[in-house]
């Protein structure tokens, strides 16, 4: 490794709430079957929307939490805490008091408790009530989800919330990796959560004119990354949380290891609030490769940001070519957003679940709805059908964002080093 004095970091637990299942296995099974989690929004306000489709999570908090817990948790916190609970069980974690002092939680979210904020405004401005519910702040604040996880597990290490729009959770995971790598913590809960499918949030996205036009034949097929007929992104909701551990710590307790995080790069475009930059995206991929000390040719699969907007997909394709050169045409690149939609602050974490399980299963999830080739998007996007591959070693997951903050993570099989 490039920095031999730095500690190695591995993934030992995964939890997820998504439009395609609330366990990692169910999620991966669905995405490798090319299933879509996108459909007509089930909500009382749907008739007032221009864009009536989204990827909603199928999650009932009452199945997992007490009434008392639910009274203090927006959906964004419920998704995150349930994911963290799954991840802790999956990792078979049993943390002593000493361990808890060196265990932290980094969570990414774009809009935090959007519904709680909106419910408050409805009371004030629409219903003309004079008072808000006492817990509004505690449910709406962006740091609520991370705080709920820390309280549940009694984590006493650092607890930070990252908000960099669509790259929030990739940044959270990457920064958590560094926290362990540099010796500040031994264990980190890291991931992202988003629950922004509220009337006001969807209206705000509509106004930005970035949402996909619903497919006329089948709304489930509306997210079409890298396809010539793509029209925009489809909003989604959910969460994914990982347990990250220092390698020797994980080995000492006999933990099952999914993969090692070998590279992380983050950069900012330093340019435009929405327009992506080839140079900015390329710099983030380059930074991750340098951090992993890997030649570009070592990457076996890229889980793309692939939002399905005209600009993103062409820009990301150009950025991949800029870094990988001729080899770009040999790397399978897929956008699982074609199936689970764009989960904003949670999307990087959910896609890292896809990348992790692609690596461990040697099976690449497809880009579905890829019907019309676009000359500007001419890579191997694993079109429509998942692909079994021989013992792959290294995978990359890209996240880009409004505001220009990119995050790229590289995962490697642990037996590679």
């Amino acid at each position: 490794m490039a920095n031999s004095h730095l500690r190695r970091v591995v993934i030992t637990g995964i939890g997820i709430v998504s439009p395609l299942g609330n366990t990692p296995d169910e999620f991966f099974s669905n995405i490798t079957q090319g299933k879509s989690g996108i459909g007509l929004i089930k909500a009382d306000f749907v008739d007032s929307l221009d864009c009536k489709i989204a990827a909603q999570a199928n999650f009932d908090g009452t199945q997992h939490f007490t009434k008392q817990q639910l009274a203090l948790m927006d959906n964004v916190s419920q998704f995150a805490l349930y994911s963290a609970q799954q991840a802790a069980i999956d990792a078979n974690l049993a943390l002593s008091d000493d361990d808890l002092n060196r265990t932290g939680c980094y969570i990414g979210t774009g809009m935090g408790g959007a519904k709680s904020t909106e419910d408050g405004y409805i009371r004030l401005y629409k219903e003309n009530q004079s008072r808000l519910k006492p817990f509004t702040v505690l449910m709406a604040m962006n740091s609520a989800a991370g705080s709920q996880i820390a309280m549940h597990f009694q984590l006493c290490g650092p607890n930070l919330t990252f908000t960099t729009a669509c790259s929030s959770s990739t940044i959270a995971i990457g920064e958590a990796y560094r926290q362990i790598q540099q010796g500040y913590c031994d264990v980190m809960f890291a991931g992202g959560t988003e629950a922004l499918l509220t009337f006001g949030s969807i209206k705000a996205w509509e106004a930005l004119r970035t949402l996909a036009k619903p497919d006329e034949v089948d709304p489930a097929c509306s997210s079409k990354p890298f396809s010539k007929n793509r029209t925009g992104l489809v909003l989604g909701e959910g969460a994914a949380v990982f347990v990250l551990e220092e390698l020797e710590y994980a080995k000492a307790r006999g933990a099952r290891i999914y993969a090692e995080i070998t590279g992380y790069g983050t950069t900012n475009d330093g340019a435009h609030i929405t327009q992506p930059s080839v140079e900015g995206q390329a710099r983030a991929m380059q930074a991750a490769l340098e951090n992993a000390n890997l030649a570009p040719e070592k990457i076996d699969y890229i889980n793309a940001h692939g939002t399905g907007t005209l600009l993103n997909d062409a820009t990301e394709t150009a950025a991949i070519k800029k870094i990988f050169g001729e080899y770009a045409y040999k790397i399978p690149v897929s956008s699982t957003k074609s199936m689970h939609g764009h989960l904003m602050g949670a999307t990087g974490a959910v896609e890292l679940v896809a990348a992790t399980l692609a690596l461990t299963n040697n099976q690449l999830p497809p880009t579905i709805n890829l019907a019309e080739p676009d000359p500007e998007c001419d890579l191997d996007y694993v079109p429509n059908v998942s692909r079994k591959v021989d013992n792959i070693q290294h995978v990359m997951s890209n996240s880009f964002a409004f505001g220009g903050t990119s995050g790229v993570i590289i995962l490697s099989k642990i037996n590679d080093h």
Partner: protein, 83 residues
């Protein structure tokens, strides 16, 4: 009208999902399992139920009876000011 203590007892028992019989007038809020946040929530609901407004500087209550007495006092003030 129902005794204010009984109303408060019912609200707390419902919120905490506990047996109302365990709540006595002299029980402290902490005894029955209410933290400061829960107390604000109970006050919020009581404001709706009784049509009163509890000023911030009067929320120094220790026992369930303190809560009931506070509401009684504010109810009496409300009735007096309506006359």
């Amino acid at each position: 009208m129902e005794n204010t203590f009984e109303v408060v007892k019912g609200m707390i028992a419902k919120k905490l999902e506990i047996d109302p019989a365990t709540i006595q007038p002299e029980s402290t809020l902490t005894d029955v399992g209410l933290d400061s946040l829960d107390t604000f929530d109970i006050i919020f609901d009581a404001e709706d139920k009784f049509g009163i407004k509890v000023p911030n500087d009067q929320v120094n209550v220790t026992t369930i009876q303190d809560v009931a007495s506070l509401f009684d006092k504010l109810l009496a003030e409300k009735i007096a000011s309506a006359k």
